[in-house]
Amino acid sequence: MATASYPPDLKYHEEHDWARIEGETATFGITWYAQDQLGELVFFDPPAVGATVRRGDPYAEVESVKAVSDVIAPLSGEVVEVNEALASGPEAINDDPYDGGWMVKVRLSDVSEVESLMDAAAYEDSLT
């Protein structure tokens, strides 16, 4: 995706992560801004299904050619699914950060944490 976009139906964490909330589960990924800063991603190291993630803590790693970076969980819970397609095609995170580039699905342990996240407009404001 060549130009910045921040879908209004997602919630955003200050460490440049998004969450798509569907009842008590959420899908996580990184924002357009994050993938643009990191450059072409060449490796995604996911957590195990069943792993516990905690809001604000790293749960996965992404690597560009140059460097490795932690991916921060926007919310707490248990990983119920991992995007297996990223193992062979991590470039989906660059090309399609909000759909094909999703990283994990998490069963939330505390749905009220969602209130701590930003909406798209607030997140976009935080980038300038």
């Binding site: 450059g39 072409e40 060449v42 490796f43 190291d45 690597e63 050619v65 460097a67 490795v68």
Partner: protein, 359 residues
């Protein structure tokens, strides 16, 4: 961040990098392009066609006078007497214990005049080292950093591309010549590079660098940043000072014994002679990661040793690197494991270069 950027030096090509959409990063006190369109595309351009790098951050030291050869013979590890006029030679600069201060190319411009190209991060220290040792030699040492911008044009098509802009035939590999290039007189053209491809490096007056850059780009060379420079050099197994070389490693364990001629009596020669005779505990070897993951600088090798450079090879499609390994485990094909941020990753010792020379 702005304050930090304000203190960084800029090359004469800075405005062109900005206009080309480059991502600029601090590097050894300079603000340098790390990538333009993307590391993968730039890497591929150099492997398949031609790319041009701004390497104006690299330094130059000129050594001149009837004692210039004797001074350089004292400083540089290789046999300086063997550099023909218009020739080039790779060597390391050692301190007394044999630790590596820098790795360098030296060009003999005239019988008693040499130009040595330094790494940006080491230039000030190198120049001070040259000056300190010049006493007693009939030679003068000049800091030429501000007199040159430097462009590297690299790739299978690079030489033909530059030849089309040059007034005369280009120097052959490991040679140098002063030529008019793109209408700019007295460009020092050197048949050297840092990518594992054929090509040339162009040392040009800063004020004329833009004209040469523009002509090279117009002739079809892709601008390439330091990001791809690192993946290219690592595939070719060229050392990077600060990663694979340091004052704490001697050239023997770094696999650079081939450019050390101890009988010339260079500073550190006796330490290097001892290391060669008695062997070293570790040796720098290329490796490939055989499973998932990318090993990086500083990752420990299980059972001893350390990764000094690591990246994804964009040519091969798997992770590669250089690591100091215990000498008894340096045979190509030997499996070993690396602690990559708490995860054990499988790797295998490889021979150099990591990419085949004929592709």
């Amino acid at each position: 961040m702005a304050a930090e950027t304000d203190t960084l030096r800029r090359t004469p090509l800075h405005d062109r990098h900005v206009a080309a959409g480059a991502k600029l990063v601090p590097f050894a006190g300079w603000e340098m392009p790390v990538q333009y369109q993307g590391i993968r595309a730039e890497h591929t351009a150099v492997r398949e066609h031609a790319g041009v790098f701004d390497v104006s951050h690299m330094g130059q030291v000129e050594t001149a006078g009837s004692g210039a050869e004797a001074l350089l013979q004292r400083l540089l590890s290789n046999d300086v007497a063997r550099i023909a006029e218009q020739g080039a030679q790779y060597s390391v600069l050692c301190e007394e214990r044999g630790g590596v201060l820098d790795d360098l190319f030296t060009y003999r411009l005239a019988p008693d005049r040499f130009l040595t190209v330094t790494n940006a991060s080491n230039h000030a220290r190198d120049f001070a080292w040259f000056e300190r040792h010049a006493a007693g030699f009939d030679a003068t040492v000049h800091d030429r950093l501000d007199d040159f911008a430097m462009l590297a044009v690299q790739g299978p098509r690079a030489r033909a591309l530059v030849a089309g802009l040059a007034a005369r035939e280009l120097p052959r590999r490991f040679h140098t010549a002063e030529l008019t290039v793109a209408g700019v007189p007295d460009v020092l053209v050197c048949g050297t590079g840092y990518t594992g491809e054929d090509g040339v490096e162009l040392l040009v007056a800063p004020g004329a660098a833009g004209a040469v850059w523009d002509a090279v780009v117009a002739a079809g060379a892709e601008p390439v940043g330091l990001g791809a420079r690192d993946t290219l050099r690592l595939e070719a197994c060229f050392h990077l000072y600060g990663n694979d070389l340091s004052e704490d490693r001697n050239p023997i364990e770094a696999g650079l014994g081939w450019c050390c001629k101890e009988d010339t009596g260079f500073v550190g020669a006796e330490a290097v002679r001892a290391a060669r005779a008695h062997g070293t505990a570790e040796r720098l070897m290329p490796f490939a990661v055989t499973g998932p993951g990318i090993a990086r600088q500083g990752n420990p090798v299980l059972g001893g040793g350390v990764v000094t450079s690591g990246t994804l090879s964009l040519t091969l499609g798997y992770a590669i690197g250089l690591a100091y390994l215990p000498v008894e485990r340096t045979e190509p094909g030997t499996p070993f494991e690396i602690d990559v941020r708490g995860k054990t990753r499988a790797a295998e010792v490889r021979a150099k270069p990591l990419i085949p020379e004929e592709r």
